[in-house]
Amino acid sequence: MSDLAIQSGSPLLRRLKRNYSQPQRIIGLILLLLLLFFVFMPMVNLLYTSFTLSYSDQRLPEVKASGVEFEEGKFSLVHFRRVFMSKLSKPMLLIPLMNTLLITAGLTILSISWGCLLAWLVVRTNLPGKKALANIAALPYIIPSWVISLAWINVFKNQRIGGSIGWFEYMTGIAIPNWFAYGPVPIIICLSLHYYAYAFITVSGALASIDSRLEETGELLGANRWQVMRKITLPLVMPSILAAFILTFSKGIGTFGTPAFLGIPVRYYTLSTQLYANVKNGLEGDAYLLAIVMILISGITIYMNVKVIGARKSYVTIAGKGFRAKPIDLGKLKHVVFIIMVLFVIFFVLFPIYILLAQTFMEAEGDYSMANFTTHFWIGEAGSIGSKGQVMGMGESGILRNPSIYQGAWNSLRLAVLVSFLAAVIGIFLGYAIVRGKGTILSKMNDALSFAPYIIPGIAFGAVYLGMFAQPRGPIPALYGTFSLLVIVSLAKRLPFSSRTGTSAMMQIDRELEEAAGLVGAGFFKKFTRIIYPLTKSGFVAGFLLSFITTMRELSLIVLLVTPKTKVLTTMIFRYAESGFHQFGDAITMIIVVISITGTLLIKRFQSTSLVKGV
């Protein structure tokens, strides 16, 4: 038998020692500390900073006028008054808020209706070629949301604001009015062309799981097709439509890239772009309050999401034996619908990508003639002279020769690799601590805290980190301008996803598999490397790739935090677009699109499931 020497000390001590040497507790505690520091504290700090005076606030007219002596770090309602109760409230809060709500409402309605219709056509009818159509229609889900807005600019921009004419004017000679080239209309359209994919994917999943006999029963009882649709099909998919609705809505609140590209040139601001502008103008305190407003709106929608979905999840019918999904015959309409679908796919999915690609080969923007063709923006040497004797690309070399691009690409790449690796590892540990410690307070706190970043829109999260790490905090030096800050912020924003992935992976591993190893003397390290890791590996790889793509195309989260030294591909695109330099930006965008698609294909191989179920 074993020696009992290890059992020395008082009972209480032994108990403490044992409880706190359980691996799930140690891991749980370490993670909890990290979460408190990197998720909870920054949010508290955000609140704190918006109610205190910072050094840069000295120059605010309100502070000067108050006559009270300026003191850094003093409690102050200055920012609160500025944002909520002053002449500035209208341009700074109210108008952007209204714009945000308008855009979000518009894009939600458009993308939900389009996504649902598409899902229905693809899952429930005998539309020809629907499998291929479905896969291409899901493409916008994969590529960054702002890609379409860049394409929009290329197609519809006009001389007055865009500096040169777009493809449309080039082809037709018709000048595009400002309201169609920039502002809410194109913003809503472009965002819908990305976000419909969310509704499409969720709703087609739900539709595929409905047994068509439920509908046939309705028909047998004398209901016509429209009544069946309204009374049977719709209620059955309602929960997933609601889920898509709320997801789209909360994403819309925080979206940044598209309103920045299409709104800022005409001074049309949303909360996210206003927040960005405030930070650029050194008005951090005001920006933080806007971030809080965004977090609140987004938090409320997600709370509703949990409420609504939580209550009605079980509503979707589970297909039992003899499950049948009889496609509905579209009759003669079939071909019409098919043509419409093909046109949609060509014009709104493939054409934007083509336009961006074409743009990268143009010497002068907006001239689609062959004479204007150049490879300069890809492989040209710095200072190359163009056909009209001008220096091309403002003297910069093509992106494949440009050391500055390589630096950005290198930053993007190492950021994405580091973040996705760490996110996957932390995800497994979080999953372990949450699942194995189930029922304990520690487990619940880890679960809740790792979910928190989900409710914070990317740009607001960036603002939170800007406030937190612009100065030294405890053992951590000032991180602003460092690469580590980008890693930490991206990692923290990935936490909700990695903890979900880790938790579900861990729930698949029967506790007994671990106990069987423990029984023969395997310690935590051995259990982890020999049992847990091998069994979660495929989820680990898929999670890694997903994080990789997401981080690779991330813009809003880090746009406030990058400096020239730490620039990444997406922020370079943003800068090029800001300065009206589209060819370079579009070329880099193409690279990101290619990476995103490749990554998704790899994920599919690892998960061996189709993105769109039931097609």
């Binding site: 038998m1 074993s2 009992l4 059992q7 009972p11 209480l12 032994r14 108990r15 044992r18 029967d510 007994e512 598999l513 106990e515 069987a516 190893a517 423990g518 029984l519 023969v520 003397g521 395997a522 051995k526 020999r530 049992i531 091998p534 069994l535």
Partner: protein
Amino acid sequence: MSNTNEKIRLEHITKRWGEVVAVDDLNLKIEKGDFITLLGPSGCGKTTTLRAIAGLDEPTEGKIFIDNKLIFSKKEEIIVEPSKRNLGLIFQSYALWPHMTVFQNIAFPLQMKKLPKPDIKKYVAQALKDVRLQGYKDRYPAELSGGQQQRIAIARMLINRPDIYLMDEPLSNLDARLRIEMRAELKQLHQKLEATTVYVTHDQVEAMTISSRVCVMNEGVIQQIGTPEDVYRRPANLFVARFISNPQMNFFDGTVKKENGKMVVEAGGFRLPVDEEKINGRDSVIVAVRPEDFYIADDGVEYHVDAQLPAGSSQIIMVSRPGEEQVALLFEGTFKNKDGEKMKLAVKPETYNIFDKETEKVLV
């Protein structure tokens, strides 16, 4: 107090999961070389007890000794790690590692002991031979049948030469035929290795055929501990009688009478003699008669044959009297009665059990 023959001792073990009391003040001594079965319906705390012995769960109260050494005490906060208790466990699910081959599964315990590679190879080969699965070492568990998986689980348990085997319903996933084969194998294995075995099952036939002692549990409380013969012939209470019998115990309401100066219990028409002392003044009791304890007698009680269910070498016959519950009979051989006929029955002397109506405890 110290008993050299004793292997495992549980004292006042209680395990609560929140409100649920899974095991309630359980006391159990297991001798060296015993094959003891924990038997009871689903949820009665069998797995919980087994896991407490293994050290996988921590009881809420009580003490556990192995070889007279204290290995668990709630009060003193002593818990010896599972791996230091020198025991092997077969989980209900087998818990074979799905990502490891048969060889890797069995080799794992030896690798944990840091044995040299050639030794590991040798031992695993021997173990595979012992369970007759030599050709399967490179397969994955998913590529094996239930019975083969079970034998891999046994091999993995044996490889470390533990001196206690714990098995949690190891045969419950197998089909009826394989189950009977594996029972015999387990029994032989136990006889060969003479390790103390604690075996969990909810199948009373399995418990009867395989074990040297049976511990019947219900709702976390031990109902009876004894040899299979004991619990079968002398159930301690109604629960045990009901649970153990096969196919089903017959229960009659009995009235105590004095006839010709002798005490008898009248039940189901039968007049069964009893000891006056044991009845101790009660006037109504419950009588239990096993299906095989009836015989045909000319002066017997008349019963009506409702149905006959041949079961191979024996036959189950359902009979009844007007206005009373059906009675099950079990006869060897085939029987040539017809449905609807009458038959006259009597009860073999000294085979029946009598229980108190209130406490449900056995009287006779």
